[in-house]
Amino acid sequence: MKPEHPSPEPDVPGADDPDARGTPVGRRVLLGTLGLGALGLAAAPSLQRGLESFLAGAADRDPTGLTGLLPNGGGFRYYSVAASVPRKDARTYRLTVDGLVDRPASYTLADLKALPQTRLVRDVQCVTGWRVPGTPFEGVRLSRLLDAAGVRPAARAVRFTCFDGTYSESLTLGQARRADVLVALRMRDEDIGHGHGGPARLYVAPMYFYKSAKWLSGITITEDVEPGYWEVRGYDVDAWVGRSNGRDDAPTS
């Protein structure tokens, strides 16, 4: 490919081209980068632990918040599957409960706030790997809303829909009745903002965070579990932290 005689073709480095000879540093840099990548894979578990503790410390003393943008910088990441999500406030927000119930209902934000509130402090674990320790959620137990609606005997599942118009997911009736499943109105002891799925979102403490649907607007009691948005895309419906989606994280609840 690199003839040692002067080449009549301008497309080939000839003998007078200084780049026709020399050390193949390019190939070494390329292979070295590949090697570093493989080494990074092998060393990732210990590197990650070190970086996480370092960044957590740095984030405490970082007024700019830029550390939050770094990988493993801690904190929540925003995932939305819809093109845009309308904003709802105390005036426009409604949560409907319907399906196989005796008394369908529609709650305003004030109605929900008037019901007894439960506060839970658990870790949040995302199926993509990030975990936020000790996050307080506060709201109405889902079981209370189900009891108020009067679930019919044929019902075996609950389907949740959201006012982003796209997201949905499901729980079995048994899962939905757990004491650590809330319609959450507050997170980290503040009213839930739009970015975190406010004014009201589902909070399913023992499951991966995609089960905690943001912008919750509909609760429908059904006969069978209907897989939701990520669930038809391959995620587990029974998304227990540490016992699903091929992961072994420590349980959150």
């Binding site: 497309d11 026709a20 000879r21 540093v25 990548g37 990441r77």
Partner: protein
């Protein structure tokens, strides 16, 4: 290859790139652009909030990433392209001089000898090629999650995230230097550059 009929007058301009290099660069730049833009929309909370449509953005990111090496591989059929890869690979004594001048921040053209590609361009080409392959490998580990144990997947995510940040910074440098040098951009756009520029920036290059 016989002299080209469409070659510009030899006294003012010199031919720098054949269509193979130019189209490989264009297609790679486009795919890399989609990769970076979608990555930003998946990663930066403010952009994620603006873009939404997570499933679509993920699909775009996966496919642009998977296709990223294709233009370079396709261009390997071109002899001119292979010749430029050979030039990028080899480092001569003049490249060491160039790198030392850069480290001393010596900007005089006389202290920065270069052939068709200077030492910085050579290093960039080799590193970005390696980095792209590492991104592709770790990306595939994150994509086909059922193929590997969890610890591999978290490790792949870790490498993918940090290398993405590094690639982003290096790419910004690459684009910044191109923006500062219209003649270099002209070379990739039209295939030809002014002779005076070539003699100043690449004095050892004999086009």
């Amino acid at each position: 290859m016989p002299p080209r009929a469409d070659a510009p007058p030899a006294d003012t301009t010199v031919r720098r790139f054949a269509p193979a290099q130019r189209w490989a660069h264009r297609a790679t730049a486009l795919l890399m652009g989609v990769c970076v833009a979608t990555a930003a929309c998946l990663y930066v909370p403010q952009l994620a909030q603006l873009a939404g449509r997570r499933a679509l953005v993920v699909t775009l990111h996966q496919w642009s990433g998977l296709l990223l090496p294709v233009p370079v591989l396709a261009a390997l059929v071109s002899r001119a392209f292979r010749a430029d890869l050979a030039r990028l690979n080899r480092f001569g004594p003049h490249d060491r001089v160039w790198l030392r001048a850069t480290l001393r921040r010596d900007r005089r053209p006389a202290s920065r000898p270069a052939g068709k590609f200077n030492a910085g361009q050579k290093l960039y080409a080799a590193w970005i090629a390696g980095a792209t392959l590492v991104m592709l490998g770790t990306g595939l580990l994150m994509w086909f999650t059922h193929l590997t144990p969890l610890v591999w997947r978290t490790a792949a995510t870790f490498v993918h995230d940090w290398l993405a940040l590094t690639v982003g910074i290096v790419l910004a440098g690459h684009v910044g230097m191109a923006l500062a040098d219209p003649e270099a951009r002209r070379g990739l756009r039209t295939g030809s550059v002014r002779r005076e520029w070539a003699e100043r920036e690449h004095p050892l290059w004999r086009p």
